[in-house]
């Protein structure tokens, strides 16, 4: 009996030791991962063969885009022996996570990515994009790029990508409603507000112009049209200019469009750009601020054949409100192992020929002034958008803080505070300016 008990104790002891060492191992594993992970960066190599991986955005109705890109990839593979191009399409909704993931894990990251041009400064600060200023400088096509497009790939004088297409917004209006009410397409922002009220008065079930409290890119032209700015740069550092008088005039002009006489705050305060476009496409609005890229939504909606587009007017008659020059760029990742190949491929993807084909396939406006003029001559729909672009466009502050400002919804919050009556223009603008400055300071 006793011997057995002893054995048992011994057994327990050895098991106990194993348990303790197990615990210790767990602890050691815990301690080994002491600091949170930081990507080592990777890259540095410049292989002249192998697979070049590309991530592009998956658009609604992506097939025509794939065809254009496949042609570019085939051509590129023929030009370079032993090189394969692997193109993947990533969903636009989760692109931020995907691209952040690519920066964090160079091993599974692509070499070339498409990215939204408002993200440029943020991605550069994250250390994700490669500086390709030298190649950009020696790229023949670069001199035909329009200045805003070049600005959208430039951070502190260096280029971090090639503009792929530009997206710009203009004023969609209902031709049938305007005819019925004897209205002319508005020539000034005041005229726009007056026309909106007339439409709403005649059609209670319609918004005069669909506006959204969260539609930042639809609201910005009002600020710029009144001579305001989002931020001012001085010696590389930015300060918000939202609380300056001209910007506040613009904020006032935009927020005064909310109300029962045009777009009731209860419904419109929370709307973003897509909702306003949907409202117009669904026949629920007399006007809306939409992009050249929204054409398909209109064609698929109830308003097919019943709408026209003019540039969004400015304050003075004949002026055009400066639009936000959105769009996407093609960039090369810092972590790439095929730098030369990646840049060459990027140049072909964002080249004039591809841009022209992408316009035909997807309606993406080229970033080269000459290519854009050429396609505009063939396609009357894009004329008001090209006119808007030619009149001069604006861009968001080229600061890494813009990503934070954008994602912390500082501007929507400002508009919504005014629209919902929580604050007046002065107070809301001052609050937003303060938050922007905090973000810039970081």
């Amino acid at each position: 009996m006793k011997a057995e008990a002893d054995k048992c104790v011994k057994g327990v002891k050895s098991v106990r030791a194993a348990g303790v060492s197990l615990l210790a191992m767990g602890l050691a594993a815990g301690l080994a991962g002491c600091a949170p992970s930081t990507s080592s960066g990777g890259g540095g190599q410049d292989d002249k063969s192998g697979t070049v991986r590309v991530w592009l955005f998956r658009e609604v109705g992506n097939e025509p885009k794939e065809k254009v890109v496949d042609k570019v990839a085939d051509r590129f593979e023929k030009q370079h022996d032993g090189v394969e191009v692997d193109v993947q399409y990533i969903p636009i909704d989760s692109r931020a996570e995907k691209i952040k993931g690519a920066f964090n894990d160079p091993d599974s990251a692509p070499d070339v990515i498409e990215y939204g041009n408002t993200d440029t400064a943020g991605y550069v600060a994250d250390g994700g994009l490669a500086d390709i200023s030298d190649e950009f400088g020696s790229w023949d096509a670069a001199r035909d790029l329009d200045p805003t497009a070049k600005k959208s790939v430039t951070v502190e004088g260096k280029q971090y990508g090639l503009p792929l297409f530009v997206g710009v917004r203009a004023l969609y209006y209902r031709t049938d409603v305007f005819d019925e009410l004897n209205l002319e397409p508005p020539r000034t922002l005041d005229g726009l507000a007056a026309a909106a009220k007339k439409i709403r008065a005649a059609h209670k079930d319609m918004y005069g112009i669909a506006v959204g409290g969260a539609y930042t890119y639809g609201a910005m032209p009002f600020i710029w049209a009144h001579g305001g700015e989002l931020a001012r740069e001085k010696g590389g550092s930015f300060t918000s200019a939202l609380d300056a008088a001209p910007a506040k005039k613009g904020i006032k002009a935009y927020t005064s469009l909310f109300g029962d006489d045009n777009c009731p705050a209860g419904k419109c305060a929370k709307m973003g750009g897509n909702e306003t476009v949907e409202a117009f496409a669904g026949g629920k609005a007399g006007m809306a601020i939409g992009g050249d890229f929204n054409r398909q939504a209109m064609e698929n909606g109830k308003v097919q054949g019943k709408y026209g587009v003019v540039p969004l007017p400015g304050v003075e008659k004949g002026a055009i409100a400066p639009a936000f020059a959105g769009g996407n760029n093609i960039g090369v990742l810092k972590s790439t192992d095929h730098r030369t190949l990646a840049v060459q491929l990027a140049e072909q993807l964002a080249g004039k020929r591809t841009q022209e084909q992408l316009f035909e396939a997807m309606g993406f406006l080229p970033t080269f002034s000459d290519t854009r003029r050429k396609v505009a001559a063939r396609e009357p729909f894009v004329k008001p958008f090209v006119r808007t672009l030619d009149a001069g466009t604006e861009f968001v502050p080229a600061s890494p803080a813009w990503g934070t400002i954008d994602s912390s919804l500082i501007l929507p919050e400002m508009f919504q505070r005014v629209v919902s009556g929580k604050d007046d223009v002065d107070g809301a603008a001052a609050g937003a300016a303060e938050k922007m400055d905090e973000a810039f300071a970081e």
């Binding site: 327990v12 767990g26 949170p36 920066f103 409290g213 209860g266 994602s407 919050e413 919902s420």
Partner: protein
Amino acid sequence: MSVATDGAKSRPRRTPGPAHAGGPPGPRPARSGGRGPTGGARRGGWTPWLYLAPALVVLAGLLVYPVYQLGLISFLDYTQAQVSGGEPTSFRGFGNYAELLSDPQFWNVLLATVVFAAACVLGTMTVGCALAVLLTRVRALPRLLLMLAALGAWATPAITGSTVWVFLFDPDFGPVNRVLGLGDFAWTYGRLSAFALVFFEVVWCSFPLVMVTTYAGIRAVPTEVVEAATLDGASVWRTWRSVLAPLLRPILIVVTIQSIIWDFKVFTQIYVMTGGGGIAKQNLVLNVYAYQKAFASSQYSLGSAIGVVMLLILLSVTLLYLKLLRRNGEEI
């Protein structure tokens, strides 16, 4: 008062009833029962740890390590730039916490979260317990229907539930406004009405747990106790307050704590129903706020600091609650 004393007296005698239904076994059988773990005491303090080791290792990996990382990151300057290697990671000490605590928005959000969570816990407990009592008093068919309805609500994913609720209350197409004759009243426009809408959804999706658990507890209460109360002429409310609630206390404590934790951490409902925090961020709660800081703006360290603050608040609320109960002579 006779009802109450009866109930209280019968409890120690019949501990296995409610105790087996949900909570861990009552203290009494463990202390006096002959089958207690006396062997462990003789072999010294290490043996229990040995048996616990596998569970502890798993727990350490799944719970302690993430919390440790959360705490660590909250002391660093850690944004996307640090993660992808654009800038070196640096130690900030309590910088993130100072930034957080000096942000008036944080206090606003904290207050809203506490009030909203309290309302949700109260609502969930009231509805859950009331329906549990109702379940014991209806026939088989309505009971089955009520159970199915509750299980349906329980099984609905939060995103789906929230989307459907938003649609039900839609100013243009929603049936609720039509039935109530509210015209095109926009529920998500006002701060209170938006919170109310989310409150309804949260109660709707979390009452089934309370109901089912409490119902199971009630079924385990010896029928003669309830019968005695009924014979004494106690009303339904009186029976609940003086007989069932005291008997079910361990169960109610557990579901309350669980509700507090859930409702304090509510995310999906607010995020989906108010469009990420409501008009001008009027409906932000702590979890959505943390998400905005941590993921939308990639300020992982600040987001972690919010997480740590939430953890501390929840821990202290739970501990305080347990301590108060213990002072009242309850143990769970």
